[in-house]
């Protein structure tokens, strides 16, 4: 599938279904079933599988678009889980194994299959849940109100070794989703600044507002370019370095962009009624998931320091 066919088709689904009402409902705990059916109906949930006709890069493009719309289904987890377990039409998600439980699993309550990654994300345990029987589960949420649930691992569950860099994939998924989401935050802010009038004119006419939005645009552009570059590095031996660049840079942009967006929106953007918070809270949450800026900066930094001062530039001056 070509990049634009994919994003056109998915973009239509998101534009039709992913409105404020849906985001609010999801936050109240209602799984967006119609949206999920539409994605499933197009085969998007299995896009990252080796024989899907799509590529892993397509999957990340879909995740980025999902970030733009704040889609309240666990897109990255569904895509990667299906890739690793060989595909399923049931809802699969991914969490982390901690103290004998799987925690932080997006929509764990609604999932039929839950993968729990071990501490160094080199293996997973697969739990099939019987939702009809009301398998016990502890519901939780991140600061964006996205479901992040915990459940027990049944005795005798087996570990499956991962050959792919699961942590880097998931960190990249958050970086790519953030980059998409930041683009949306910029659009919302531009729109608001052009519509909101004070002192007899749109606030977009004020230089202070213009400059803040210019800063925001710079950060959004940097975030997009950093995320794209890491996706482009998927097949190369620098992949994890580029993920470190992306997660660190996009995370840094996220804080700046969200801060300015709220300042531009004034009190209106601080209300629950306005949609801005659905996006700003997401980037605040996602920048901390799968390694915050400091985590990835240190990983990148350690690699560069080992390479040494004279190797710094050659390491940065890549072709792609």
């Amino acid at each position: 599938m070509s990049d634009s066919m994919l994003t056109d088709a998915a973009g239509r689904i998101f534009a039709d279904l992913c409105d404020k009402a849906l985001l609010d409902a999801a936050e109240r705990g209602e799984f967006p079933a119609a949206l999920w059916r539409a994605l499933e109906g197009n085969g998007f949930h299995q896009l990252a599988m080796p024989d899907s006709g799509g590529t892993l890069a397509d999957a990340f493009a879909l995740i980025g678009l999902g970030g733009r719309w704040g889609v309240p289904v666990p897109l990255a987890e569904v895509l990667l889980a299906n890739r690793w377990i060989g595909g399923s039409d049931r809802l699969a998600t991914i969490g982390q194994v901690l103290d004998g439980r799987i925690v932080e699993a997006p929509w764990g309550r609604r999932a039929d299959l839950v993968l729990g990654l071990d501490a160094d994300r080199s293996a997973y345990v697969l739990v099939a849940r019987d939702r009809e029987a009301g398998a016990p589960l502890e519901s939780g949420r991140n600061m964006a109100g996205e479901a992040r649930d915990a459940l027990a691992i049944p005795a005798g569950a087996e570990w499956v070794t991962l050959t792919e860099p699961a942590h880097a994939y998931l960190a990249l998924a958050r970086a790519v989703a953030m980059a998409g989401c930041l683009g949306r935050i910029l659009d919302l802010s531009l729109q608001y600044a052009n519509e909101r009038e004070q002192f007899g004119r749109p606030i977009a006419r004020f230089q202070a507002i213009q400059h803040n939005l210019a800063v925001m645009a710079g950060e959004v552009a940097a975030a997009g370019r950093a995320a794209d570059a890491a996706v482009d590095a998927l097949d190369g031996d620098r992949f994890e370095l580029e993920v470190a660049v992306a997660k660190a840079r996009v995370g840094e942009a996220a804080g700046v962009v969200a801060e300015i967006a709220h300042q531009v929106h004034g009190a209106m953007g601080y209300t629950h009624e306005h949609q801005l918070h659905h996006f700003t809270r997401r980037v605040w949450a996602w920048r901390d998931e799968y390694g915050n800026e400091t985590y990835w900066q240190r990983r990148l930094g350690r690699h560069l320091i080992r390479t040494g001062a004279d190797g710094l530039w050659p390491l940065l001056a890549t072709r792609g």
Partner: protein, 384 residues
């Protein structure tokens, strides 16, 4: 979906640029005697011998037609050469402006005679240009320039003062933005660009000492300076359009985010001496910025290669890049402590840091202030 202004294409540099990169690195290694500066600022190292060596290698005027001494190479080739030179702290100031923008201007709007006369010596690394835009009362508000060129018998008579012209006291020519018609309601009309021979025409050039102790920029005074008819570049009266057309070249290059790079190199040296989490994070943070800015700058090179004039994208690269150039020494400084400051082996770090910090106020002023750039971006976003 994203606003068009934010379209920074994903570009992979062509394979041949990597062979070129290897050549440049070898050249730098072979000419290490030119690499003694503690900073990587593009305005502080004026070294004609080095510029001539670059010219001999064909690394000046790389994108220009061969008949004018150019190399007919891509903007990607040029990008790779310039970033390698800057990262190594090479002294590029002498030929930089001629290569980056004066030559391109002459090539795009100059007469055939001007191209034949001015371009080959630039490409050989022998002829150097300065910018003549700002004046005592015209900085960011460039359209308010008052230097006049009056058509007289035998040429143009110039009166006025240009300011902050980097290397005017060492270079051969200046392209000055002057008023050739009286001011009218359209303040962008009636401006022209004229080539001044800084050594022959009789302009009075006075170096201005900067706060870092350097004497790089100048005041250039014209009192009834007569220049020949054929010095006007492009159409008389079209100066404003030409000047703004230069900006895509002027604003998006690696010199807009690598000015502080030597500090980064030295910081890695410090970190290798004594690893700690703060140093690791600082190094990683700076690397994430450099890697991303490079790619944004290469995206703009790609647009130049396609014949586009991406002024807004270029302004954005410069705005983000200049802010990073100022962030870099701060991040480096705060990641180190007194114990590191006392290690004599790390003198290089302290020297680069102090030198770069003293130069840093210029980063967000030259070539369009941060505030002007934000205005350009805001216009691109449809806000004004």
């Amino acid at each position: 979906m994203r606003p068009t202004v934010l379209q920074f294409d994903r570009i992979t540099l062509p394979e041949e640029t990597e062979a070129l990169r290897v050549e440049v690195r070898q050249f730098l290694q072979d000419n290490a005697e030119h690499l003694s500066r503690p900073n990587s600022d593009f305005t502080t190292g004026h070294d004609p011998a080095f510029s001539r060596k670059l010219g001999q290698r064909g690394w000046i005027g790389m994108t220009w037609p061969k008949r004018y001494g150019g190399g007919e190479r891509s903007f990607f080739d040029r990008y790779v050469v310039t970033e390698e030179l800057l990262a190594a702290g090479a002294p590029v100031s002498a030929h930089w402006i001629a290569d980056r923008q004066s030559g391109n201007l002459i090539l795009s709007v100059g007469s055939e005679a001007q191209r034949e006369r001015y371009l080959p010596p630039i490409a050989r690394g022998e002829s150097y240009f300065s910018i003549g835009m700002s004046e005592p009362n015209s900085g960011s508000d460039l359209a308010s320039v008052r230097t006049r060129a009056e058509r007289v018998e035998g040429g143009w008579l110039i009166n006025g003062t240009k300011l902050w012209s980097t290397d005017a006291h060492r270079n051969h020519f200046m392209i000055a933005l002057v008023r050739t018609e009286p001011p009218s309601d359209n303040r962008h009309a009636g401006l022209s660009q004229i080539i001044i021979d800084l050594r022959e025409d009789g302009a009075v050039i006075r170096p201005i000492r900067n706060m870092a102790g350097g004497e790089d920029f100048n005041e250039v005074v014209f009192e009834d300076v007569l220049v020949p008819e054929d010095r006007v570049v492009g159409e008389p009266g079209n100066g404003w359009q030409q000047v703004t057309g230069e900006l895509a070249y002027e604003r998006s290059g690696p010199e807009r985010f690598l000015s502080a790079f030597r500090v980064f190199v030295e910081l890695v040296r410090v970190a290798a001496e004594r690893g700690d989490p703060a140093l690791e994070a600082a190094v990683g943070r700076l690397a994430a910025h450099v890697a991303t800015l490079r790619r944004m700058s290469i995206s703009v090179a790609g647009m130049l290669e396609q014949g586009k004039s991406p002024e807004v994208e270029a302004a954005l690269v410069k705005a983000v890049g200049n802010d990073f150039e100022k962030l870099l020494p701060e991040v480096a400084r705060l990641a180190t402590d007194d114990a590191i400051a006392a290690m004599p082996r790390l003198d290089g770090f302290r020297e680069a840091l102090a030198d770069t910090l003293l130069l840093s106020p210029s980063f967000t002023i030259r070539g369009g202030t941060r505030e002007i750039l934000r205005g350009v971006i805001a216009r691109g976003l449809g806000l004004r």
